[in-house]
């Protein structure tokens, strides 16, 4: 999700940041293109309109026009506003002080409620709780069998009594939870359209029948312009506390996410990333905003790396990456870790300039090349590795000899590393020209 929106915005920004000065007409053109990118991504047209209006207001002011780098300023404003749109805080699933914690899932037909209920049950169990899956869906054929099958596959209890009214099932669910020693209730409801007034009233009665702590709207990430109308209709009926965006594993451009948050203020808590019950991820709005703007989701990358990498080392690395204080030693470590972390595609998507994914996949150094680079770096003194700018002609020759390679290879590596550092520095300052490249581009070092 968001990838193609990010690509579109990238193209717009590239044009803007390439210029020294921006006229008002340039800004207008840029904004028009941003609007188009948003609309093509299914952002609600009213949300897109307001978004552009806010940016225009800020952009024509002195803040941008008198700046030395107006293009970058504009990009920064778009980024800031995008963060506002998506919200900055993540909203975890909290537990009630006195069990049971009741989580109700609601939404349109087929949005993914039942599957999400099961995914959340798994999430909750991983956090050390004991979930019960409850179905109040007496309408859809085999909805109750579905939740039973899902519960069984997780070896979890379910409560799906036949021949009982939805409200009655909800009312009895805490008692059932006590009976099976569960402390969290995930309560699935039948799908309903936002215009089905009676069904919305039924949802209200269900919610009133249980001490619901979370009332989560499950919204299909592919939803178009209706996302706002749907969400507001549900919100007007029941006090929604959060949302899960399902089916983000496709190529939806994420307009629903942007619209939903902008209009309702309810936080997106999780995203569904596949049909399997493990395919649920916590939603980090600030990271997503960066990802949309192609700034790279460095935090997610680091988190992914934690499975293989020492946490402190990774955080330290991230800080130095941002400050452009990356040393050749770091670079070595990084290459080795990337190789360990595999499968590359997912990881690269999180890196700044993910649009270049194809370049990189082919450009990963072979083991032989990696060994050569390692040899070159290992032939340097510790001081040289910390401060590559010290490496003059005679040091280069010495290093080449030590690594058993030629001067040109050493030159290539240093030149590439230097460029990379420049990029990192600019990124630390904000989003500069040239940050579109990957910070770590092994291809450059080898070319």
């Amino acid at each position: 999700m968001f990838d193609s929106l990010s690509e579109r915005l990238d193209a717009v920004f590239r044009k803007l940041t390439g210029r020294g000065k921006l006229s008002e007409a340039d800004v207008e053109t840029g904004l028009r293109e941003v609007r188009l990118a948003l609309l093509e991504a299914d952002v609600n047209y009213k949300v897109a309109r307001d978004f552009i209006a806010r940016i225009r207001e800020r952009a024509v002011g002195a803040e941008v026009m008198e700046s030395l780098t107006p293009g970058q300023q504009l990009v920064k404003i778009v980024h800031d506003e995008l963060v506002v749109l998506l919200g900055t805080e993540r909203a975890p699933l909290t537990y009630a002080p006195a069990p049971p914690t009741v989580v109700v899932l609601a939404g349109l037909q087929g949005s993914g409620k039942t599957t999400t209920a099961a995914k959340l049950a798994l999430h909750v169990r991983r956090e050390g709780h004991r979930p019960l899956l409850v179905s109040t869906d007496v309408r859809r054929p085999a909805a109750m069998e579905q939740i039973e099958v899902l519960a069984r596959s997780l070896s979890l209890p379910s409560f799906a009594p036949r021949g009982t009214l939805p409200v009655e099932i909800a009312r009895r669910s805490p008692e059932e939870a006590r009976r099976v020693n569960a402390d969290v209730i995930l309560l699935d409801t039948a799908g309903r359209l936002q215009v089905e007034t009676e069904l919305l009233q039924e949802l209200r009665s269900i919610v009133d029948a249980v001490p619901a702590r979370h009332l989560i709207l499950v919204l299909d990430a592919m939803t178009g312009q209706q996302a706002v109308a749907v969400t507001t209709a549900f919100q007007e009926t029941v006090p929604l506390t959060g949302a899960v965006l399902s089916k983000t594993d496709g190529d939806a451009r994420g307009g629903a996410a942007l619209s939903l948050r902008a209009v309702t203020q309810i936080p997106i808590q999780f995203v569904g990333t596949g049909e399997k019950l493990t395919d649920l991820e916590v939603f980090y709005p600030d990271r997503i905003a960066s990802r949309i703007l192609g700034m790279g989701d460095v935090m997610s990358l680091i988190e992914k790396a934690q499975e293989h990498v020492d946490v402190e080392q990774a955080q330290d690395m991230e800080k130095r990456l941002r400050q452009g204080r990356l040393t050749l030693t770091d670079f070595m470590d990084q290459l080795r870790q990337i190789k360990k972390m595999g499968p590359l595609e997912g990881l690269i998507g999180m890196l700044p300039g993910a649009g270049r994914i194809k370049d990189l996949a082919g450009a990963m150094p072979s083991d032989g090349q990696l060994r050569q680079m390692e040899a070159i770096i290992l032939s340097m003194t510790p001081l040289e590795r910390e401060r590559p700018e010290l490496i003059d002609g005679s040091r280069r020759r010495r290093i080449a000899r030590g690594a058993g390679t030629d001067l040109a290879s050493v030159n290539r590596l240093l030149k590439g590393f230097n460029q990379m550092q420049q990029m990192m520095k600019q990124m630390g300052k904000g989003r500069g020209k040239g940050t579109r490249g990957l910070p770590i581009d092994p291809a450059q070092l080898l070319r």
Partner: protein, 318 residues
């Protein structure tokens, strides 16, 4: 729905007609108010063009279709003597209607048995549409048989069985996890043996981005073609009316992978207008054949371009 399902008390479900007429009523009230606002204007003013564009965008036509429509209308406004917004809307309906009219929209069910393969992304409405289609065909005197080739989703087979029971048609099913191609094959064989004349094949929902799952569909198709080179006579993609521009990508990829003969747009009973089908028809040439307008078995209708355009061009105050 004909009879309430046995697993729920009748009181739990408001009658379809009552619900439907309520929606209509609510819709009509808003409609009339909007019409007054827009058509009350004596002449086409600059805001009309913006309102028209907004209406089209809000109906999910996408930017390209909306811009093209407004541009064309503006150009033709003088020549066609369009003075009022009402003239303009009628003219636009005429243009779009003329483009849509010649497309074939009836189902091709020439085959012994005819096979209808139903595909689409997750949760779009495939299984329900099959239940409705079975009911519809049976009322037309055909003998449909359902193939439960979604062997993946939890309780998908139970769902199809329940729908089949209501529609009073037979189902051929294997165990969960079985090979979808084998189910389709057996269903066609069973149809031959039992004298059923249409086989409706339900498939698991799959996002079009999953190349492996698209390959699985191609395999089902190949299996069907082994029995009859002309099968499947229809390959219908079911779209959810609430989905926006992503529908166009879905149709493109499904069409490239297995070829589509038509679309069924489900969940048009809400306020979603699925404007994306305009672009799909024009650019990809895949006609919409059926619409789903509710969860009940009789909530299926043939796609009628002029009714559709009426709903699409309902001007909303912005």
């Amino acid at each position: 729905m004909n009879a309430p399902p046995e697993d729920q008390p009748a009181s739990a479900r408001p009658g379809f007609w009552r619900r439907f007429s309520q929606n209509l009523e609510a819709g009509r009230r808003a409609y009339v108010a909007d019409l007054k606002e827009v058509f009350g204007r004596p002449a086409i003013d600059p805001t009309f063009w913006d309102d028209l564009e907004a209406t089209l965008l809000a109906a999910d036509t996408g930017v390209a279709v909306a811009t093209r429509a407004v541009e064309r209308l503006r150009q033709e406004a003088a020549g066609a003597h369009l003075r009022t917004p009402a003239d303009a809307l009628a003219h636009l309906k005429g243009i779009l209607g003329a483009e849509m009219a010649p497309r074939p929209r009836s189902l091709n069910l020439d085959g012994r048995p005819a096979v209808v393969l139903v595909v689409g992304v997750n949760g779009s409405g495939k299984t329900t549409t099959i239940g409705k289609l079975a009911f519809w065909l049976r009322r037309q005197g055909r003998r449909p048989l359902l193939a439960a080739a979604d062997t993946y989703r939890a309780a998908a087979i139970d769902q199809l069985r329940a729908l089949a029971q209501r529609a009073q048609v037979e189902v051929v099913a294997h165990q969960p996890g079985a090979d979808p191609g084998a189910v389709a094959f057996d269903a066609v064989q069973a149809a031959l043996a039992r004298g059923a004349d249409v086989v409706l094949v339900d498939t698991a929902g799959r996002l079009h981005t999953r190349a492996d799952l698209m390959e699985e569909l191609r395999k089902v198709r190949r299996v069907l073609q082994r029995l009859d080179p002309n099968a499947p006579q229809e390959v219908l993609a079911v779209l959810d009316a609430h989905v926006g521009q992503n529908s166009a990508r879905q149709v493109k990829v499904f069409a490239e992978a297995i070829g589509l003969t038509g679309l069924a747009v489900a969940k048009l009973d809400g306020t979603a207008r699925a404007g994306v089908v305009l672009g799909i028809e024009e650019e990809l040439g895949v006609p919409t054949k059926l619409v789903g307008i509710g969860e009940g078995l009789e909530d299926l209708d043939a796609f009628d371009p002029s009714e559709y355009l009426d709903a699409l061009l309902r001007m909303e105050a912005t």
